[in-house]
């Protein structure tokens, strides 16, 4: 079970998650300091490491739309957030899978900041409201990459196999 620490609406763009003005910063160890920086209170709490690993961000439809900047995924991976959204934008979803950021697609999710959620293989149970919401599995095509822990280890294995050393 984990706590919802931040809630946002529909169509949250990567300009909100990680504004373009910080794009020269690329290292995943450095990007979390700029996550949601235009929401100063939430950003300050991220910088102070206030959130336990697995804390939940709840979002509406089309989370991560806009730019392909990978910092928008790496800045949330650093503090190990789980993003539960009604659905995700394509490039953000692929970036998150590639970096091992945990996402849950839950088209009917209803939750508020402070609620406790339990995420199972089939559903999200809001322990606070007592309601449960079915989730949609990640695209099958990408499951192998999720299982490998991200695209870097997955690709490394392929490169080694190509050399006959896998």
């Amino acid at each position: 079970m984990a706590n919802v620490v931040f809630k946002v609406g529909d169509d949250v763009s990567t300009d909100i998650i990680y504004p373009g003005r910080f794009m020269a910063t690329v290292l995943p160890t450095e990007t979390p300091q700029y996550a949601f920086i235009d929401y100063p209170e939430f950003n300050a709490r991220i910088k102070k490491n206030e959130f336990p690993k697995g804390s939940i961000i709840v979002a509406g439809k089309n989370f991560g739309c806009g730019s392909s900047r990978e910092q928008a995924a790496s800045c949330l991976k650093g503090p190990d957030f789980v993003v539960v959204a009604r659905n995700f934008s394509r490039i953000f979803m692929q970036n998150a899978i590639n970096l091992g950021l945990k996402m849950v697609i839950c088209p009917t999710i209803e939750a508020n900041e402070g609620d406790d959620l339990e995420i199972t293989a089939e559903q999200v149970v809001n322990q606070t409201s007592g309601k449960s919401f079915p989730l949609i599995p990640m695209p099958k095509a990408r499951q192998a990459i999720i299982d490998a822990g991200g695209l870097i280890p997955f690709t490394r294995k392929l490169v080694l196999e190509a050399q006959g050393r896998g």
């Binding site: 690329v26 089309n62 490039i91 690709t155």
Partner: protein
């Protein structure tokens, strides 16, 4: 069963006779493009080879393109460091399609790729930039990916586990009225589909209004398909594509024109009569918040911007120069113009557009992406309102979350620069 354009291209690129939407394929990549975020791609690329004992070599240096455009010339020592790191990598790997910060041959990646003939019909193009959708204008399947995905492409020469997207067919009938342009068409379409309406899908454009549209206009509409969430936009290549490749991109060989089958299966078909379109405006703070211009006439504008990978091409500048020539930018309004490439800049100089802009009071900047996404020059103050021919108006996009951005065509931007408020170019008699 017939195939859509993207199904045909992906079948060919993955060595299969046929594929359909939903199939999982691993297409070979013909061109892999990055800009300054190549610095992050390099980190991830090196990470793949870490502790393997193998030398990190890209699969094919002739198929990688790197264009500096987001922060040119460098605005900080950090960016300069990233650019230096990329320059060193390019030299070490033997990457030839490299466009450094130069007055000859520099510019915005989505103009450089078509302009230098790097994109061909029927090919697979990936880029670490969401507006890589642009290159569907030349009949390629071209889509944006993240830096880690690109690192895998550099290593393997293919994109792993791609789900063949379904296709929305958009048929554009009629003829554009005066001062109504491809930008108005795509803004209208994004408003109609909404920001997620084409998520994980391709938009294939058809109809007489597309057939009579120059490649520069096709680049505008494909560019902004991503604002409806689309994986890519695509236009079946035709005589205009051949003309562009030969006359403007200097491509000598004649490419094959790969089109969709007549009995291709589409998820949805939308028909738009462009004759009925009026100028469209995307209002703050989402690109799908689109209204006809009459709904926002008179909104006071602090900064007008013409340029970007969407509308910084020569015919965009020609429209703006015609409207601005002999006029003045309104007091209290600033105007920034940044051509999409240095070649376009030079052409605009020779045609007298740059003089017309400067004499009107506009600031003509070097080619680049900076102002569009608030990373380099042209930042807005709290409470400022901008009107731009760029592609996004999300909160914070132009560098300040307490500012507002409206999106429009070059004609609307130029007419509004003279009055200082959102103005319908059709009403000014230019």
């Amino acid at each position: 069963m017939g195939m859509t354009m993207v199904e045909k291209i992906l079948a060919r690129a993955s060595g299969q006779s046929a594929v359909k939407a939903g199939d999982v394929v691993e297409p070979k990549v013909d061109l892999a493009m990055s800009h300054e975020n190549g610095a992050l791609v390099i980190n991830q690329f090196n990470e793949i080879y870490k502790d393997t004992g193998l030398e990190a070599r890209v699969w094919d240096p002739s198929r990688i393109a790197i264009i500096f455009d987001h922060r040119v010339p460098a605005e900080s020592s950090k960016t300069a460091g990233n650019q230096k790191k990329i320059r060193d990598f390019v030299a070490r790997q033997g990457i030839t399609k490299f466009h450094d910060i130069r007055g000859d041959g520099g510019g915005i990646c989505h103009q450089i790729l078509p302009e230098f003939g790097y994109v061909r019909p029927g090919k697979v193009v990936v880029g670490t930039d969401s507006h890589t959708t642009s290159h569907g204008a030349l009949g390629a399947f071209s889509f944006g990916i993240g830096a880690t995905e690109m690192a895998a492409v550099w290593a393997l020469g293919k994109v792993l586990n791609v789900e063949v997207p379904g296709t929305i067919k958009v048929v554009c009938e009629g003829k554009f009225k005066r001062h109504v342009s491809p930008k108005d068409l795509i803004l209208h379409l994004v408003g109609k589909l909404t920001a997620e309406g084409a998520n994980f899908k391709v938009i294939e454009f058809h109809g007489p209004a597309i057939e009579s549209m120059p490649t520069s206009g096709r680049l505008v509409i494909c560019n902004m398909t991503v604002e409806a969430g689309a994986t890519s936009g695509i236009v079946p290549p035709d005589a205009e594509t051949l003309r562009y490749l030969k006359e403007e991109a200097g491509v000598t060989e004649v490419p094959e024109l790969l089109g969709p089958d007549a009995d291709a299966v589409y998820d949805q078909v939308i028909t738009i009569n462009v004759s009925k379109l009026q100028p469209q405006i995307a209002c703050p703070h989402t690109v799908d918040n689109v209204k006809p211009i009459k709904a926002v006439l008179g909104v006071k504008i602090n900064q007008i911007v013409i340029g970007s990978c969407t509308n910084g091409r020569l015919d965009d500048l020609a429209i703006a120069a015609k409207i601005l020539k002999g006029k003045k930018v309104a007091k209290g309004t600033r105007m920034l113009i940044f051509p999409a490439s240095t070649r376009i800049y030079l052409q605009a100089l020779k045609k007298g557009y740059v003089a017309a802009f400067m004499e009107a009071g506009a600031v003509v900047m070097n080619s680049g992406c900076g102002p569009c996404l608030g990373v380099h020059q042209g930042a807005l103050a709290d409470g400022d309102v901008a009107l731009a021919t760029t592609n996004r108006n999300f909160k914070g996009r132009m560098g300040n979350p307490n500012a507002e951005v409206y999106l429009c065509s070059p004609a609307v931007a130029a007419a509004s620069a003279i009055t200082g408020v959102i103005t319908d170019p059709r009403k000014r008699g230019e």
